[in-house]
Symmetry: C2
Subunit: 462 residues, 2 copies
């Protein structure tokens, strides 16, 4: 274990000041608010740090791009975003969401956790790194800070493809990192793809008296039967071909799963108690629980609605019904093919009348290799900074635009940052803790030093 | 064919005056409004007609009871109700729902069709009958006018059982009768039973992020699968034992179905065009369509609701789901047994976690014999009054408290009255047409005269 490295006071002041400037800008992507203004503010911060920042226009919000390469040294790409979620409901905030507020060792405000605090911690990490190595950055840096992450990063794949040459790097820091409820740093090595699907069916021009039930088709039953046909009671997907392209887990991935399943505290037991689930699918626990959660694709029903749902009874045959699905994909499933297989499944099972639409830009699945040196150095740096081993995960159950970086640019991507499980991202009173800012920033610095083969300076050891 | 018997002018004035008094009373059972007051008003009308009216208290709204028996003559029991549906949405009414309004040969107001206009037509029919037979009623009369029909007649079975002796009669007029869109009088000989069932399932303490989909059970899928398991795509019920007690149709009932199926205009074709249904269950038409509609029990899904149903997508695993069913029964199915079979079906198919509740007082199925003299006389009287043959139906697809009268009292029951298919009962601008009042009232008079073996008086023929 490395000795603890204290977070310098002047960098703490720097962190607070920079974050206050960004939190004050209500850059809500869903509302298209203050996005250009915030991109300019971010570019200004980068220039203050001596980076050559550019504003790149896209079909949506502008991207802030910065680049400083160092001859003979590896280059790290930072992916972050300057946009935030809406702040409502405003009445549930203890302080103004667009004014940084410090209470009890925590920093409150919209975007403190997701993702402005992360962005600022990276800027501060670069300052710290420079200070630790004679006033010059010892590694190359490329920054890509987008403004539409909270609305699904609709232009990221195209932007990365168009700018692949300028984005060339040796490794990537993903937008954030997090410690869990037991203060263990997480190192997540994959995200699932996701495709959102709407189903609709209509059986008559308008709702009918249910006395006609023996003859008139029922939209509620038809949608229930269509949805029920998609999977079995343990969540196994029954769409022909759904699993055909699933990439087999590598020996390393298997080892990570086995290790997670063998942890002293079985995550499935704690989770079940917390969310009120007595039995997970197939009674899975331990490594099987981890295998399903991290490696399995799934068809989720987000909602189904048809007919009467109020008090008492209404004797009606619903004329229409709708359902919403999200399909979580793993490498190498292809969203377009999966949608075609779903359509074929519905047709084959007698549901040709169930109309299917899907979101135009599905998320693609991606994983990085936990055994890559960048990931191994990140895990070691997290352990140094937080004092406990990092929990390594092959893949989150969730989704995000990892694919452009890991697959298109072919980079190892590490999720190292300053969030914690109680930080209420996307919610009122979003915040980060100073302790995580200090440790997470150090972890960033140490990952880079380790990766570049730089010794930690003697002056930083206590 | 009998000659046309004109409706006397003084009875038209009488009809309008009595109906205006009743429509002015907002006797909305669902709101418990003006029920005692309306019962008193109805009793007063009956006394003006020379009947001995009584108010009987029940566990709910009072029943108005009247009785006048005639030695040596048969007795007819009239079943009607003085309560009405709520009047909202008020803004869709062309005139005050609680003020009788006459326009273009129609009488508008809440309850004109259902059921105050029917009640008044019976009072006027009895006056007319008296006038046609020397100033004295030539048959016995018992009237039972309840005040909770629109909320499911919760006390009718018990009331009829407790008062069976005083309700003794030879035949019964049901609360209403109707002519169809082609102005053909209908003679409906049965009503289905109905039991309303609520299903609920919960899979977690609260909704979960859908990234947990591979491990956390999904309430929306579970309810969809439970509902889907109840029937096949053509509506055939898959609950074990569901059809076991279904009484076989009699030769008369078969003949009625065959006759309906052989009509020049196939009802299934007209209905399909009107309500936008291209294919009925099992592609049924003609006699098979009639057989299903009239003789088949069915499990209807009135609604299913779970999770997100708004715009765009929400990546959530719903923690709870609900569905509403109405189960339509035919003789001799028993609602309590059917609910037990449904519970057993859910348990057997892996849905023991789906909670089931059902309305305490289900409706019981009932049919009367279309070949009974009372029904044959009613059919002949309808043809006399309306000038076209009555359309006889073994059973409606709908439900109502026929059982206490047909099964408990063992009476033949005829549905003869003054409504028409366009009358908007339960809706804004509810109304009846003068032409149907005249013809329907005459049909009541002629049914009684025929049944009692009384010649129509010579003075009434033109």
């Amino acid at each position: 274990m490395a000795t603890v490295t204290p977070f310098p006071d002047h960098l703490r002041e720097r962190f607070r000041a920079l974050l206050a400037r960004l939190v004050a800008l209500p850059s809500i992507a869903a509302e298209g608010r203050a996005l250009g203004e915030t991109a300019e503010a971010v570019a200004a911060l980068l220039r203050e740090l001596g980076l050559d920042a550019e504003i790149h226009q896209t079909a949506g919000a502008p991207v802030v791009f910065a680049e400083r390469r160092v001859a003979g040294a590896p280059t790290v790409l930072f992916y972050n975003h300057y946009d935030v979620q809406p702040a409502d409901p405003l009445e549930l905030w203890s302080s103004d969401p667009f004014e940084l507020s410090e209470r009890d060792g925590k920093l409150y405000g919209r975007g403190t956790g997701d993702d402005k605090g992360e962005l600022v911690s990276r800027l501060v990490a670069l300052e710290w790194l420079r200070e630790r190595h004679g006033g010059e950055l010892p590694i190359g840096v490329v920054m890509l800070i987008e403004g539409e992450e909270e609305v699904g990063s609709p232009t990221m794949e195209a932007y990365v493809e168009a700018n692949a040459e300028r984005l060339a790097a040796d490794a990537c820091f993903w937008e954030a990192g997090i410690v869990d409820a037991a203060d263990r740093p997480q190192l997540v090595c994959g995200l699932k793809g996701v495709v959102a699907v709407d189903l609709e069916v209509r059986t008559a021009a308008y709702d009918q008296h249910s006395g006609l039930g023996p003859v008139v088709p029922n939209a509620a039953w038809r949608m229930a039967a269509a949805v029920a046909s998609l999977r079995d009671t343990d969540g196994r997907v029954l769409i022909d071909g759904f699993y055909d392209r699933v990439r087999a887990a590598t020996p390393t991935e298997h080892a990570v799963i086995e290790s997670a399943g063998a942890a002293a505290r079985d995550e499935s037991v704690d989770l079940g108690a917390e969310i009120g689930v007595e039995r997970f699918h197939a009674s899975a626990n331990g490594a099987e629980f981890q295998r399903r959660l991290q490696l399995e694709p799934v068809v989720n029903v987000n909602g189904i609605h048809s007919g009467y749902g109020g008090a008492g009874s209404k004797t009606v045959l619903p004329a229409s019904a709708s359902a919403k699905l999200d399909i979580r994909l793993v490498p190498n499933q292809d969203p377009d093919e999966i949608v075609r297989l779903l359509r074929a499944h519905l047709d084959r099972h007698g549901f040709a009348d169930v109309a299917l639409t899907h979101r135009e830009r599905p998320g693609l699945p991606a994983r990085v290799d936990p055994a890559h040196p960048w990931l191994r150095h990140a895990a070691a740096a997290l352990e140094e900074a937080f004092g406990v081993p990092a929990v390594i995960t092959v893949s989150s159950g969730g989704s995000g635009p990892l694919h452009p970086f890991s697959e298109r640019l072919g980079l190892p991507v590490a999720m190292v940052g300053v969030n914690y499980a109680g930080g209420r991202i996307h919610s009122p009173d979003e915040h980060i803790r100073w302790r995580d800012v200090e440790r997470g920033t150090l972890a960033l610095v140490r990952t880079m030093e380790r990766f570049a083969g730089l010794d930690a300076p003697a002056s930083s050891a206590s």
